[in-house]
């Protein structure tokens, strides 16, 4: 059995930071392997949220009173924390949204207003629906053409197809940093270079990638980067859009409301500069503060050691599951992230999930909001085990035992 040989990472100590991990499910210890859907929260995040409500809560950016000043400072401090986490140049490049989907919808709406019929957007077929459907809106409303880059049987993106596809009509390449099903990590440096060479922008969906891979938006040189709080061990209801400042400056507002204006008269309105231009209404204040706490927590760990630990869990699970001849794993791209999606011949993903749940193992069965990818592999649904920094090799063994139970059942 592979072990986490890295000395810089103590998974037992880390687990103690996550109160929910000590609960039981149906009389057994919880084995939470649905992290790609949403991750559990460390005490530091729970405390940041409750302490804000208990001690320093008010609306931001308006009041001159003490609590509003404190809440505003904490909120803007989180923006700075996100900036540091993504290595953006300026905090004004960080827009808070309610999640990853809203961040992409914002770009689709505001950048979409600049697009015309026949303009092309390139997507990969391993995108999550949140990085597909907003672009379908532009197809439906503006006649924008969607073009799709495939993956091979191992889940590796077909870069040569992408190269052939990018041209003078390409306005945007919208691509995941890490597939939420296959775990594939595409070569973004090449993709960005190709797109920029043709004058197109690049939006990177980092909802999985931000959790498992390092992010440096300046080195990557992407134009937009999207992440969501709840997968980053932070609260729900908070997401992040990074955009290059000069680009954000050219985008029209997404929603209208308070906070996003300069001057409103009966006849005219002028808009605030980014990021507030894109943050209409009272923002998710406490959620943003919670996200800041989550990123601080992640940064307090040795991220290289965390990455090595997650890789060893993936290797362990892959090795054990690949041994079973009725089981097919989807995604075997070099350098893939800590997600293993599979199907068992004769057992539907939902039956597998139900049986695993009975032994306390939480996995996801379904299409994982990636129906074009399911169609590509000609499968209706798969089972997905996705790992987080707090998972253990014993939990991998529990998964494998559960899979054996399933096979016993569905002989």
């Amino acid at each position: 059995m592979p072990t986490s040989a890295n000395s810089g990472f103590d998974v037992t100590r880390v687990r103690a930071d996550f109160p929910i991990l000590s609960r039981t499910v149906r009389g057994r210890p919880l084995v939470y392997l649905d992290n790609a859907a949403s991750a559990q929260k460390p005490q530091a995040v729970i405390d940041a949220i409750s302490q804000t409500y208990a001690n320093a809560y008010a609306n931001v950016h308006r009041g001159v009173h003490m609590l509003s000043a404190e809440a505003t400072m904490a909120f803007e401090k989180s923006r700075e924390t996100v900036r540091r986490f993504l290595n953006a140049k300026r905090a004004e490049e960080i827009v808070f949204t309610k999640g990853g989907s809203e961040a992409i919808n914002l770009v689709a709406s505001s950048l979409g207003a600049q697009l015309r019929e026949g303009d092309e957007i390139i997507l990969s077929e391993m995108e999550h629906h949140s990085n597909i459907v907003p672009w379908h809106f532009l197809r439906e409303r503006h006649g924008v053409v969607l073009r799709w880059v495939g993956v091979d049987d191992a889940g590796v993106l077909d870069l040569s197809a992408l190269r052939g596809m990018i041209g003078s009509r390409t306005r945007l390449v919208a691509i995941t940093q890490m597939s939420n099903v296959l775990g594939t990590v595409p070569d973004l440096a090449q993709i960005v270079a190709l797109a920029h060479g043709a004058g197109a922008k690049v939006l990177v969906d980092g909802c999985q990638g931000a959790v498992h891979l390092g992010v440096d938006v300046q080195a990557l040189d992407c134009d937009f980067y999207v992440a969501t709080g709840h997968k980053l061990y932070g609260p729900t209801g908070i997401g992040v859009l990074y955009g290059k400042y000069d680009l954000l400056k050219t985008l029209r507002p997404y929603q209208g409301g308070g906070e996003m204006i300069q001057i409103v008269t009966r006849d005219t309105v002028t808009y605030a500069d980014p990021p507030h231009r894109f943050e209409a209404g009272t923002p998710p204040i406490v959620q943003a503060i919670g996200l800041g706490a989550a990123l601080d927590y992640m940064s307090s760990l040795d991220r290289a050691a965390v990455h090595a630990h997650e890789e060893s869990l993936l290797a362990h699970a892959t090795e054990e599951l690949a041994r079973l001849n009725r089981l097919r794993i989807f995604g075997d791209a070099p350098g893939k992230g800590a997600i293993v999606a599979f199907e068992i011949a004769g057992a539907h993903a939902h039956d597998v999930s139900t049986i695993l749940d009975r032994s306390g193992v939480a996995v996801r069965g379904g299409h994982h909001c990636a129906q074009p990818l399911m169609a590509r592999f000609d499968v209706a649904s798969t089972v997905r085990a996705s790992f987080a920094l707090y998972n253990t090799h014993d939990e991998v063994e529990a998964l494998v035992r559960g899979v054996h139970d399933v096979m016993e059942f569905f002989k």
């Binding site: 004769g346 993903a349 009975r358 209706a380 649904s381 016993e408 569905f410």
Partner: protein, 154 residues
């Protein structure tokens, strides 16, 4: 470790129907049909019927992709409603929906023997997340009888 609730859910007769679904395929001379879809899990079922002048189901077939529960439920349904009138099938559907939710229900219009056969699906009431799997085919049948061509369960 397989517990007793799981044994109740995946009884041998259900696994058998799931593996060897009855009336699986298409019905070339169908005069009613509907497609059911569960967007949550992607399960799909297509139910085709032949209704005679007295609204009696004289032939039935289904096709689909789904979990053992949904396929077994569809398969058992085709056996049970074959030869029944539309109102009888509807009454049985209502009884079945109650049964899968573990609810009490009146079943004056339903044959006791049919209910006994459906009891095998009652284990699903212990798995609230899976009730939709069991009822999809029945809702689709109901839609086909009513002349609707599509039903979506959520």
């Amino acid at each position: 470790m397989i517990d007793s609730d799981l044994r109740d859910l995946y009884q041998e007769v259900i696994l058998d129907h799931g593996r060897n679904p009855r009336h699986f395929g298409t019905l070339p001379d169908a005069n009613h049909d509907a497609r059911g879809h569960n967007p949550l899990c992607g399960d799909q079922v297509h139910v085709q019927l032949k209704l005679d002048d007295e609204e009696r189901i004289t032939d039935i077939a289904f096709e689909g992709k789904g979990c053992a529960i949904s396929m077994a439920s569809a398969s058992m349904m085709t056996e049970l409603v074959l030869g029944k009138t539309v109102p009888q099938a509807h009454a049985l559907m209502e009884a079945f929906v109650h049964l899968t939710k573990g609810e009490e229900f009146e079943h004056e219009c339903v044959v006791e023997d049919d209910l006994d056969r459906l009891q095998v699906m009652s284990g699903v009431s212990q798995f609230p997340m899976r009730v939709k799997c069991a009822t999809l085919a029945w809702h689709t049948l109901d839609a086909a009888c009513k002349g609707e061509d599509e039903v979506v369960s959520e």
